[in-house]
Amino acid sequence: MTVQQTVSPLPGQGATSANSVTTQPPPPQGMWSELFSFRDNRLGVLLIVPSLLALILVQFYPIVYNFWLILTSEKGEWIGLANLSRLTRDTIFHGALIFSLKMGIVVVPMCLLVGLGLALLVHSDYAGRKAIWISILIIPLMVSEIVAGMMWKIMYHPTLGLVNVPLAAVGLEPIIWLVKADTAFIALCVVEIWRISPLAFLLLYAGLNQVPRDIYEAAAVDGATRWRAFWDMTLPYIRPMFAIATILVFVWSTRTIGTIAATTQGGPGRATWNLSWYIYGMSFQRLKPHYASAAVLVMLLMTYIAGTIFVRYLWVERRSR
């Protein structure tokens, strides 16, 4: 750059008119004091009371009740943290917790990848009628967990199932998917990926639609390849959507119960017990709701911690340099 001349200030900038003294409103005194200055907001506060009550009823009451359950025994006696300490020694619980986490670790990245791939395809110029694609792709979301499980159970059938057809075609022995622990895990992961990917697809597709087209053109002229533009423009833009998708997919995949009920019933043995299945069995089959509540708390904490991590590392605004 050879030119070294600075620009004079813009007309009308910099100078403030001397006689523009106006009275300013007093500074705000913080959100809470403003919200609860009852005198000014009487009607407003009254109007939010019904929804506040509903919120307390459906959100806070169950949580508080859950804590009460944890701290008492099935007979209603106060037992402190005994239920929680029992959990630490419960190997079945450990197995279920590990299974849930394992499933999350496999299903979350796969769902995000599949979802992102589908979103990019549908968002591209090659996809003709986008509305048709979207309505087809979100069908798995509409199907209930049980129905999805039943459907896939038929597909996994050793002789009748569609999944074994290609194996038979190349002369391989059919795999009895749901009977062995490791294949059952894979089979369940596939069902979950099929079922939940559309959620990631929807969120990421919505994210892609928010990226203004002209910044891609600007990047192309500035010298970016398509890949570089995807990396520098698309990904930072859909980052918040990525965080939301990650949390939701994680929650959906770790809490699934219908799929397990319809396919493996937790078997073979206890190989496919996840936290939900454990809690369900503990509450309604072994009739220990108080002890199960402790597992509920662990599940809640696990989701909360994971969510916080995802938000912190995925949702932060990018400041390069």
Binding site: V3, V7, L10, P212, A218, A220, V221, D222, D232, R321
Partner: protein
């Protein structure tokens, strides 16, 4: 720095022809303004040069290279968008630095060049902010900075001033012109604002409905419009048009309309006889080329029905038998609404009614 040559450029969007057989040469170091109403194909032409659209037919050369098949990034052109198209998730610094980063420029050189450009444009104070926190004028300069910093061979500007307020626009158009002169880089500037075109351009290419109407210097475009479209489009107070025909009266050629009889000099009459045998033509005259006197007995009388004072001058709206004329009064005469004036036509153009082309 390079010459841009556009040869027979045609661009279809489906069945719609956006640009039709455009030939244009932008000389090295020139600032050429593509001027025309919305939908005239000027932006499409520029996007073809940038590589954001592929020409349906025709060739585009930058320097000696035919660029039709090159990606935008391989053309070494910089484009300032109407919307600025700043990267909202980058700071102003990163926006300006981005083209340099893509070229793997060393870090300290990026730092130096971005700061130089920012200083030149007066936006050093915005560098750490994201564009969303900058004013419209600052965003505009960041976009300019991003284009300037990489020292491209051609600048392309797509109505860069249409989103900022009128006062700043007047200031910025001089600013861009100065920058272009100092950098000496070829520039294609697209606008629908004929004042912007007139004030900035070395050459103006007036376009309409996908075709080039006239290429020339601002004064050529203003003083010698090639056809009635150019005549109508250029000029802040538009040219007056008086439909009529050329007739002989007492051995002299006159342009005779329902309202006026205007003598035509021999030379023009001669050419008109050649170019427009039927003699049916429209007379076009700019508002400042109509002289008037308060003389009540003179020829070509008409009444003033409205005054439009503009401070330095007044536009007189004159009406005669359904024909409206705008006349510029720079002499601050004491004309009032309702006065009857006697008009004379100083310099005028004749346009063939069939083709619209100027007779000269």
């Amino acid at each position: 720095m390079a010459e841009v040559r556009i040869e027979g450029l045609t661009k279809y969007f489906g069945d719609t022809c956006a640009v039709n057989q455009l030939n244009l040469v932008v000389r090295d170091g020139d600032l050429v303004v593509l001027l025309g109403p919305s939908g005239c194909g000027k932006t499409t032409t520029m996007r073809c040069v940038a590589g954001l659209e592929r020409p349906t037919y025709g060739d585009i050369y930058i320097g000696e290279t035919r660029v039709n098949d090159l990606e935008p990034r391989e053309r070494d052109v910089a484009l300032v968008f109407q919307s600025y198209a700043l990267y909202p998730h980058f700071t102003a610094f990163d926006n300006i630095a981005y083209p340099l980063r893509l070229r793997k420029t060393p870090k300290d050189e990026i730092e130096r060049r971005v700061r130089d450009v920012a200083e030149m444009l007066g936006i050093t104070h915005t560098l750490e902010r994201p564009p969303g926190l900058c004013s419209g004028g600052e965003q505009q300069r960041i976009a300019l900075g991003r284009a300037i910093v990489r020292e491209p061979v051609v600048f392309l500007m797509d109505e860069p001033l249409s989103n900022i307020d009128a006062l700043l626009r007047v200031y910025m158009r001089a600013e861009i012109k100065r920058l272009q002169h100092e950098l000496g880089t070829t520039m294609i500037y697209v606008t629908h604002d004929q004042v912007e075109g007139m004030t900035m351009a070395d050459q103006i290419a007036v376009m309409n409905e996908g075709t080039l109407q006239q290429l020339g210097t601002p004064s050529e475009i203003y003083d010698m419009p090639a056809n009635n479209f150019v005549a109508r489009f250029v000029g802040s107070t538009p040219m007056n048009f008086i439909p009529g025909a050329l007739r002989k009266e007492n051995g002299k050629t006159v342009h005779k309309s329902d309202q006026f009889v205007i003598p035509v000099d021999n030379e023009m009459a001669h050419r008109a006889a050649e170019l427009c045998p039927g003699g049916v033509c429209t007379l076009g005259v700019r508002p400042e080329e109509i002289r008037f006197t308060m003389d009540e007995d003179g020829a070509n009388q008409a009444g003033v029905f409205l005054l439009e004072p503009l401070g330095s001058e007044t536009i007189l709206d004159i009406e005669k038998e359904g024909l409206l004329l705008k006349v510029k009064d720079v002499a601050a005469t004491q004309v009032r609404e309702g006065d009857v004036l006697s008009l004379s036509f100083n310099r005028f153009h004749l346009f063939d009614d069939e083709t619209g082309a100027a007779i000269r």
